[in-house]
Symmetry: C2
Subunit: 252 residues, 2 copies
Amino acid sequence: MGGVRFRSPSTGRSIRAVLFDTFGTVVDWRTDIASAVAGYAERHRLELDAAAFADRWRDRYQPSMEPIRSGAREFVTLDTLHRENLDAALLESGIDPSDHDAGELDELSRTWHELTPWPDSVPGLTAIRSDYIIGPLSNGNTSLLLDMAKNAGIPWDVIIGSDINRIYKPHPRAYLHTAHLLGLHPGEVMLAAAHNGDLEAAQAAGLATAFILRPLEHGPHQTTDLAPTVSWDISATDITDLAAQLRAASTG
Amino acid sequence: MGGVRFRSPSTGRSIRAVLFDTFGTVVDWRTDIASAVAGYAERHRLELDAAAFADRWRDRYQPSMEPIRSGAREFVTLDTLHRENLDAALLESGIDPSDHDAGELDELSRTWHELTPWPDSVPGLTAIRSDYIIGPLSNGNTSLLLDMAKNAGIPWDVIIGSDINRIYKPHPRAYLHTAHLLGLHPGEVMLAAAHNGDLEAAQAAGLATAFILRPLEHGPHQTTDLAPTVSWDISATDITDLAAQLRAASTG
């Protein structure tokens, strides 16, 4: 924690904390969810394209948070939304979830607690951690992020889940309340994310920004977020590259 | 995170998380505060018994939280209370804080962010961490606990500061809301603390309990908490001993 830290051109401040979007940026949700779905389908003799089902499940992610962002629905955790969205995705696939054991579906939904990091994530985070506070800035709830970290050896310094802020990104409060709890000015906090939309909202809230390229998050035919839409503070090919760029900029 | 975990006789459940009181239990606040006060007094040519002043400052700790626990005062962070209590302790010592630079007093008050762990704390926590979730369950705010951990290498998995729960121990909500955010039943959470009063409140809230002997927290003439008042789930001579007892009980 010594030495010169990266100074954000956009916020004009030295960065103290680098916080990470998790689903897609730190962990590869699609591979693990498809694999868990395939296992479930096999055990229950369901005809199911597991990768397509994973996409269908995830497609409900943003829409399911929208009523909470708008205030139309009281906050519920992402665990709750994942479980509701699983039922909806099953119905959409012609499978009635009420024909299935609720405990087994709960278990399938808990797969989101145990996703595998991209190969560069843990080495990159470990390097960044020597100079900066690191943590998730995710729509995951605290216990989900904690289980994920414990399971995969992700060395977070601190975990402020969405159930602590009681709001979902890209609502500005998600970014600002996290900075507040860390005792930092928003401009001292950098969001690193594979999604330009997330970075836009973080920048609008006054945070520094780093784009992380994750061209396989949505599988081999991904069409979104294949490049930074604007010039973020940093654009990196992965988290190890982010670590190298932060190190180079702070000592250069 | 494998294998058999300690089963609490009092809660009847296997423990998943071991959470620690920090001031006194994990870190030696008195030595560091006295040392910072001595440095301040020397720079400002104040006649001051630094250890006595540290005690005077800390004596205001519990009373200053009481109006918040009772609801008479809206929640403010421990950083705010520490700073207010510093002014009060100075006045009590015949020193008018308004004669002093506010920024320098802020800096002195930030000493609470950088306290030194007892020698057994980090090795003991590191050992416990391989089988359990570990974190503080402290009246410190999140940024204080994070700075302390980062500064001293305390390997917390998760930090739920009092500013997240917005209440101070021993109010039951401090224990229960922490367990809730971890996604655990209160009986799966163990509080480890050097203070019998804290353990009483944790047990009343349904948590498991471990007493940690810290006979020098209040200096060489300590008269309080020199032994467990009742038979807690575990009574340990320090955190390394707690790690050994948890290990023995879970494999035995």
